[in-house]
Subunit: 246 residues, 2 copies
């Protein structure tokens, strides 16, 4: 009982930290958010827990672990549309889009918090600023999609990988999950290929190029960046699209 309460507070803390990043919250808003009760669940790795066609009645907040959004071609090939780090609200869009047009699943074992749509909507009735904050989160998701469209269509395989590593670094760093030069990264090369629209072979070879150039090391679930400037230059990376400090 008290364990559950404390875990719901983990979700609240994570959310407060996230929303404060776009500016100070009013004290009423802080109280509104703190009063929300989240249903916290631990999920095993590699599990799609929201499916295409679903009509969710609640939203989720990622507390710990790595989550992907993906879709499949008729031939059964998976395309990963986004990668989510702790603090993200990966299915906020289900608040206003009834039917899921994609899957959401875990990469590593994850701690995820759920809250019913109607609880959120009632909260929004009480605060237009909170509404704007959550809306903004979905707009940033969209900005990431736009950047992915350019990256996957216009950059070569090594550039794409460099850009992706830069993006992941920035997003992990924004929630304080980096240390010194690196961060934990649980995806396999095959999954990264499904993000970048590349075969596993291409990912492997591109990674070797980045490693040989002394830009980045990716070994056993951990990425370390050795030369940010040259890595960002290689990936034509400009962090504006992340809207971290608008």
């Amino acid at each position: 009982m008290s364990a559950v309460t404390s875990r719901s507070e983990d979700a609240t803390d994570m959310l407060l930290r996230r929303l404060r990043a776009s500016g100070r919250l009013g004290s009423l808003d802080e109280r509104l958010l703190s009063s929300l009760h989240w249903d916290v669940v631990d999920l095993p790795a590699k599990t799609d827990f929201i499916h295409e066609g679903d009509r969710p009645t609640r939203c989720c907040l990622l507390i710990d672990g790595l989550i992907i959004r993906s879709n499949f071609t008729q031939g059964g090939e998976r395309q990963i549309q986004s990668v989510h780090v702790p603090g993200d609200l990966p299915d906020l869009q289900s608040l206003h889009l009834r039917q899921m047009d994609h899957y959401i699943g875990t990469v590593s074992p994850c701690r995820v918090a759920f809250i019913p749509h109607d609880v959120l909507l009632r909260t929004f009735e009480k605060s237009s600023d909170l509404t704007a904050r959550f809306w903004r989160e979905t707009l940033i998701d969209a900005a990431l999609y736009r950047a992915i469209i350019v990256r996957n269509a216009r950059l070569g395989s090594t550039e794409r990988l460099a850009h992706f590593v830069c993006e992941m670094w920035c997003r992990f760093d924004a929630v304080g999950l980096t240390d010194r030069s690196g961060f934990p990264f649980a995806m396999t090369q095959e999954m990264v290929g499904q993000v970048l629209g590349l075969s596993i072979v291409s990912v492997n070879r591109s990674m070797q190029i980045l490693r040989a150039d002394g830009l980045v090391v990716w070994d056993r679930g951990r990425i370390d960046i050795l030369d940010w400037d040259r890595l960002a230059a290689t990936g034509q990376f400009d962090a504006t699209f992340l809207h971290l400090n608008d």
Copy 2:
């Protein structure tokens, strides 16, 4: 003077039609929307009227013509991230994301209506349902981006083109701009290549395949669909992502 008023009403009509598509509007909301004043402008073809780095203070509504959102690589190659049809609000995201991370421009000569951010925000204060309707529009934009990510990464050139034609048909049809089997379509093959991440040569050859198969004819600014079922099958097209009637 009266001309300006009547043109602002064009914008209101377009917007009402658009928002009603996601369900009946309350009478208060209809009145709120009808009281908005739009600044209507005619823009020439091929003009970027919002630029990367801008900090817009107003949003726009496309009344007539075709608009694209695009971004450029360091090498100067353009990637088109979305194509907008009348009724779309292409830069609604600027309400909550200060800095533009892309360009918005006309393809054909366009009629565009502008409204200040603060007018919209004050309207939202008065109606949480209107807020939700506008939020939903941005969520549909995001759903389109997600579909584009899959299409451009996983489909071959002819499939991509077929998918794109299907999408354009559905979106033109949703605002009543189709007749019989076709619709006006002002983009060049080069632009379509910039949408699909293909060279103009590939677009041309893919189009010839679709034409030879009797699926679609694209000639002099007009697309006609001859066999929807086979075109949709070729493009693996499933309209769910458009969320036209959730």
